[in-house]
Amino acid sequence: MRRLNAIVWGAMLAFGAFVILQSLKHNYYGSDFGPGPGFFSFWLGVLLMALSLAQMVMTYRRPAEPLPAGFIPGREGVTRMVCIIGALAAALLMMTTLGYSLTMLGFCIFLLHRLGRQPWWLTLVLAAVASFGTAYLFGLLQVMLPKGVLGLM
C-alpha cells in the first residue's frame, strides 16, 4: 500500500509541477483587469503539489497497510481488460479508413467471440446487428457516422 500510495501521489505531484510550468507560459495577471489566463492554473498546480506532498508525508508516518484484497487483478481479468482496451484503440484507428460498419463488425465479432463466448452463429448475428443495424438506424436519424475509403458508412 505504501509503495502504491507513493506512486499515486508522486504522479499527482509531477502533474502539479507540469501544470505550474504550463501556466507560466501565460500572463499571470491579465493585461487589462483581473486574473490572466495563467492565474488559476498556477494556483491549482500549487494546490495539487501541496496536497500530494502532504499525503506522501502522511503515508510514511502511518504504519504500512496491506493492499486491499483483490486489488491486483488475476491473469484472466487482465486479459479481458487488454482485449477491451485494444479493441477500442483499434476501432479508433481504423474507423476513418474502414468506415463505421466494417470497423464495428470486426470490433463486435472479436469481443463477442473473445468475451461473450457465444456460438458462432449468434456472434455473427449480434455483431451484424450492432454494426450494420446501428448504422442503418442512425442513418435514418440523419446522424453521420464515419465513412471509410470504400464509402460505406
Partner: protein, 503 residues
C-alpha cells in the same frame, strides 16, 4: 384569475386530438432521443425543426417542447441501466441510479425519476402561470457578479462530495478545474494546455469525458473481476415504487429538487447539469447519512432528476417573457418559435395569448403523458439488464462509440472517451471520487467566464462582488457551506485515521 381563464382556454386547445397526438409523438421521440447515444436534446430538437415547418405553429411547438422534456427523461434511462450518461444533466444519476440497478432495483430508480420529473415539471409550469413576469424581472438582476457568486456556492459543495478522504476529493476537484481550463481562454484568447491540437482549442468536451469516466470505466472494472453476476437479480423488476421506508425521504428530496431546479431555471445561462449536480450535493450536505450516497440510495436519484425537469420547464419562463433562451436547447426552441412567426418576449402573451396558453397547458399534459408512458415501460427497460453482461457490454461499448462520435462528429472525442475510460478505471480503483471532478468540470468554464466579465465591468475591482446584495448573499452562503463542511470533515478524517491505524 385572468390567467386561470386563459389557462382553461389553453387546455381546451391543447386537449384537441391533434395536439394530444403531437404531444404524445413528442414524448416518445424525446425519450428515444434521450436513450439513443449521440442525440442530445439540442441536436434532437434541431433535427426536427424542418418537420415543424409543415405543422401549424401551436402543434409544432407543443411537439418540440415535448421532445425537449422527453429527452431529459430519456437520458436518465441509460444512466441508470448501463452507467452511460447520454447528456450532461443525467451524469449525477449514474452515481446512485446505477448502483441501484446493480442491486436489482433499476425499476425503483427509473420509477422515482419518472415521478420526480413529473412533479418537478408540473410545479415549474405552475410557477410559469402564476409568477412568470415578476420572476423574470428578478432574473434580469443577475449579472455576472451574481452569477459568479452563485457558482461559488456550487463549488463550495464539492467538499460535501468527499468520500472517505477530503484530500482525494479536493485533488479531484482541482483536476476537474484544470481539465476545464484546457482551450482558448476567454480573456486574452490564449490557448492553454492545447499543445497545438485543434480539437483542444475549444476545450475538453464534457460528454465524452463522463462517458469515459462512468461508462467505459465501469466496464473495465467489471472486466477485471468477472463478467458474470455484475447485476443482481433481486426483486421484481416491475416494482417501480420506492420501498415504504423510502417514501418520506423521497418526497422531501423531490420537494427540494423542485425548488432548486425552478430557481436555477429562471436564471438564463445556467444549465441543467448545474441544477442536477447542485441538487445532489445539497441532498448529501443535509442528509443524515451522507456516507451512504453513491451506494444506491433513492434520494440520490430522486432529487437531481426532479431538479433537472423542474429546471427544463422553468427555463421556458425567461424565453416566453423576455425572449431569452437559457440553454442551447431552449435557443433552438426559440428559433422554432421565431420561424413560425412568433416573437418571444413580453408581447407574446398579449399578441398570441391563444398560442402561449395552449403551449403552457400542453406542458401539464405532456408531463402527464410522459409519466403514463414511462411507468409501465420501466419494467421493460429494466428487463434489458437480463441480457448476459458479456453480451450487453459489447453493445454498451458500441453505444458509447456512437455517442462520443456523433455529438460533434469527431473521432478525437472518441479517443478522449477512451483515455478518460482508463483514467476513470484508475481513479475508481484507487478510491478517488469522480463526482467532484465532474462538478468542477461543469463549473470551471462558467466561473472563469463570469469572474472575468465581472472584473471587466468593474474595471478590476473585486468590490463588485460585495457591494451587490444578491452577490453578497451567495458569497455568505458559500462561506457558510465551506466552514460547516470543514467542520464536519475534520473529526471524521481523524476517526478514519485511527481506524486505519488499528488495521
Amino acid at each position: 384569475m385572468e390567467a386561470f381563464q386563459h389557462l382553461m382556454t389553453g387546455f381546451a386547445a391543447a386537449l384537441s386530438p391533434l395536439n394530444l397526438l403531437f404531444a404524445t409523438i413528442g414524448c416518445v421521440l424525446g425519450t428515444l432521443i434521450g436513450v439513443l447515444p449521440g442525440l442530445g436534446p439540442a441536436a434532437g430538437t434541431a433535427l426536427l425543426i424542418p418537420i415543424t415547418f409543415k405543422l401549424e405553429p401551436t402543434s409544432a411547438i407543443i411537439m418540440l417542447a415535448a421532445i425537449y422534456y422527453g429527452a431529459m427523461y430519456g437520458g436518465t434511462i441509460t444512466s441508470v441501466l448501463i452507467n452511460v450518461p447520454g447528456e450532461a444533466a443525467s451524469v449525477v444519476t449514474c452515481l446512485d441510479g446505477y448502483e441501484m440497478a446493480k442491486q436489482g432495483r433499476a425499476g425503483a430508480a427509473l420509477g422515482i425519476a419518472a415521478i420526480g420529473s413529473f412533479f418537478g415539471g408540473t410545479v415549474a409550469t405552475f410557477g410559469l402561470v402564476l409568477v412568470a413576469l415578476p420572476l423574470t424581472r428578478f432574473a434580469l438582476k443577475f449579472g455576472s457578479p451574481e452569477y459568479f457568486s452563485l457558482l461559488l456556492v456550487g463549488l463550495s459543495l464539492v467538499m460535501g462530495l468527499a468520500g472517505k478522504s477530503l484530500a482525494k476529493a479536493l485533488v479531484m476537484g482541482a483536476l476537474g478545474l484544470i481539465f476545464s481550463f484546457v482551450g482558448v481562454d476567454p480573456v486574452e484568447g490564449a490557448p492553454r494546455f492545447t499543445f497545438d491540437i485543434a480539437p483542444l482549442m475549444d476545450g475538453i468536451r464534457f460528454v465524452p469525458v463522463v462517458m469515459g469516466f462512468f461508462g467505459i470505466g465501469e466496464i473495465l472494472i467489471n472486466a477485471e473481476r468477472s463478467l458474470a453476476g455484475v447485476i443482481a437479480e433481486g426483486g421484481k423488476v416491475s416494482s417501480f415504487l420506492p420501498r415504504r421506508d423510502e417514501v418520506r425521504i423521497s418526497i422531501l428530496s423531490i420537494l427540494r429538487g423542485t425548488g432548486l431546479g425552478f430557481f436555477l431555471g429562471l436564471i438564463p445561462g445556467t444549465n441543467s447539469a448545474v441544477a442536477s449536480f447542485m441538487s445532489y450535493s445539497i441532498e448529501r450536505k443535509f442528509s443524515r447519512h451522507p456516507d451512504a450516497f453513491g451506494t444506491g440510495i433513492i434520494e440520490g436519484v430522486a432529487a437531481p432528476e426532479t431538479a433537472n425537469n423542474a429546471y427544463a420547464n422553468a427555463a421556458l419562463i425567461p424565453l416566453f417573457t423576455l425572449g431569452l433562451p437559457g440553454s442551447p436547447t431552449i435557443a433552438i426552441l426559440m428559433g422554432a418559435l421565431i420561424m413560425n412567426g412568433l416573437t418571444p418576449g413580453p408581447l407574446l402573451f398579449s399578441q398570441h395569448a391563444g398560442f402561449v396558453w395552449a403551449v403552457i397547458a400542453s406542458l401539464y399534459i405532456g408531463n402527464l403523458i410522459l409519466l403514463i408512458l414511462n411507468l409501465p415501460l420501466v419494467g421493460w427497460w429494466a428487463k434489458l439488464l437480463k441480457i448476459p453482461y458479456n453480451i450487453l457490454m459489447v453493445f454498451i461499448l458500441v453505444f458509447c462509440i456512437i455517442g462520443a462520435y456523433s455529438l460533434n462528429n469527431s473521432m478525437f472525442d472518441v479517443g478522449m472517451m477512451l483515455v478518460c475510460g482508463l483514467l476513470g478505471y484508475l481513479f475508481k480503483k484507487l478510491d478517488f471520487p469522480l463526482a467532484p471532478a465532474v462538478l468542477t468540470l461543469i463549473l470551471g468554464p462558467l466561473m472563469e467566464q463570469s469572474l472575468r466579465e465581472s472584473l471587466s465591468v468593474s474595471q478590476g475591482s473585486f468590490a463588485i462582488f460585495f457591494t451587490r446584495p444578491i452577490s453578497l448573499f451567495f458569497l455568505i452562503v458559500a462561506a457558510l457551506i465551506m466552514v460547516t463542511s470543514a467542520w464536519q470533515a475534520w473529526p471524521s478524517t481523524i476517526r478514519e485515521e485511527s481506524k486505519e491505524a488499528q488495521v
